[in-house]
């Protein structure tokens, strides 16, 4: 029996990750989703501090974890994620690993 990965509703691509990330980040920061773009810097453009990023990661794990069992995002990696694009790439890579 393979490890518990990629089980539920088909693979999740970058567009879907970006959509979910935008939605959740907008909720956390209480800003309009339109303000969040791939090139947006978490700190400089969106004023998202470390606690907001942790909230985001928890939210992503919760939502994506329902569709991909076992998704885990390491807290240590958060500091390296400067932009939304980097976060999307990171999550997609995690989903595929």
């Amino acid at each position: 029996m393979p490890a518990e990965t990629h089980v539920a509703q088909g693979p999740i691509g970058p567009d879907e990750v970006y959509r979910i990330l935008r939605e959740r980040l907008a909720e956390i920061l209480e800003i309009d989703e339109d303000r969040i773009k791939l090139e947006s810097s978490f700190t400089q453009d969106l004023d998202a501090d470390s606690l907001a990023l942790i909230e985001l990661v928890e939210a992503l794990e919760e939502e994506l974890g329902e569709r991909t069992v076992g998704l885990r995002i390491d807290a240590e990696d958060l500091g390296d994620l400067g932009t939304v694009q980097e976060a999307v790439d990171y999550v997609v890579a995690r989903l595929g690993s």
């Binding site: 956390i28 209480e30 942790i54 909230e55 807290a75």
Partner: protein
């Protein structure tokens, strides 16, 4: 139709005197307050402390395999240790198995766990700890917010703290129109660092704002709600604690200094001890974390069983008075 009993999740492993004093306090709370308690922690540590194994009426036990230490990084601990007693308490509130939680462990981790599991109140960027400070001349309390939850603050966050503190004073302290002061190094509007100056202009739009207050206004009821950042607030609380202890030592030292003083002490000491009870942190009842979408009461690290009973009492009152719901309404209304 009878009123449904409230269940309070208690982190049995949090605090310097855990689990012994915490469990004892939780058991006392069940018998004294008419609440149910969900004791969360390591079964093999808790069960021997229960008078009849885990079959105590009003007490349920939930096993948690991990413990968050006092010195652990708050956010990392709350994220990594999902099987900790602390995170499980917050999760129990989120899932509706408990209506409130009480913890005496790592304050920062408690804040992070509550924030991540319960979520934030919309319109509030950061939670803050509302700490009741006794005003000796009467029975009323003064609220200090933030007592240590959010160390680095923006002016906007401090303005949110003021609104939350005001609503909490209204609900829990029964003050109709609470007054608010910004803790600074002088009463004049221009006093303070950049954070204080910028906050002052935002607070002018908050109803009940009375301007700056100074450290000497604490414990004197000058205003009902004293607003400050978590860094300053925590230092203030520890300073008060230390100063009060020194004052007590001084007074009792004098009463023990000469034969005449000792005679006087026989009369005065009991009166002083009664009066000083108002300063006893175990009797204050714990501080409430405001801004999260659930009731979270934080008791001090060296909590005794009595402190836990009083913290559970605060949690119970917060649920019964609908503190979180009223806070949300107030924030929504602007």
């Amino acid at each position: 139709m009878g009123t449904q009993r409230i269940t309070v999740a208690v982190d049995a492993m949090g605090g310097d005197k855990a689990p012994g004093e915490i469990v004892r306090g939780a058991l006392d709370a069940v018998s004294e307050l008419g609440v149910d308690v969900l004791l969360v922690g390591q079964e093999n540590a808790i069960e021997p402390l229960l008078p009849d194994g885990r079959r105590v009426p009003g007490v349920a036990l939930e096993h948690a395999g991990e413990v968050v230490g006092m010195d652990e990084d708050p956010a990392a601990a709350a994220r990594r240790k999902k099987d900790s007693s602390l995170v499980r308490c917050a999760q129990a509130v989120r899932e509706g198995r408990a209506q409130a939680m009480v913890g005496a462990g790592n304050t920062g981790a408690t804040m992070a766990a509550a924030l991540l599991r319960m979520g934030r109140v919309r319109g509030i960027s950061r939670p803050a700890i509302a700490v009741p400070i006794p005003v000796p001349a009467g029975t009323r309390h003064q609220l200090l917010i933030d007592g240590g939850s959010t160390v680095d603050c923006t002016p906007e966050w401090l303005a949110q703290f003021a609104r939350m503190g005001r609503e909490y004073a209204r609900t829990r302290l029964a003050v109709d129109e609470p007054t608010v002061g910004l803790l600074s190094n002088g009463e004049e509007p221009g006093k303070g660092d950049e954070l204080r100056k910028r906050t002052f202009s935002l607070l002018e739009k908050v109803p009940g704002f009375n301007g700056n207050v100074e450290g000497r206004d604490l414990m004197h009821g000058t205003v009902d709600v004293v607003v400050t950042d978590g860094f300053t607030g925590n230092i203030v609380l520890k300073t008060l604690e230390g100063a009060l202890r020194a004052a007590v030592e001084l007074v009792f030292g004098v009463l023990d200094s000469t034969p005449e003083a000792k005679e006087a002490g026989k009369v005065v000491a009991p009166l002083l001890l009664d009066a000083a009870a108002v300063f006893d942190p175990d009797l204050t009842g714990g501080a409430v974390l405001l801004g999260v979408d659930g009731v979270c009461v934080i008791s001090h690290g060296s909590s005794s069983a009595r402190a836990i009973v009083n913290a559970v009492r605060v949690a119970q009152e917060c649920v019964e008075t609908g503190v979180v719901g009223r806070l949300k309404e107030s924030i929504d209304a602007g």
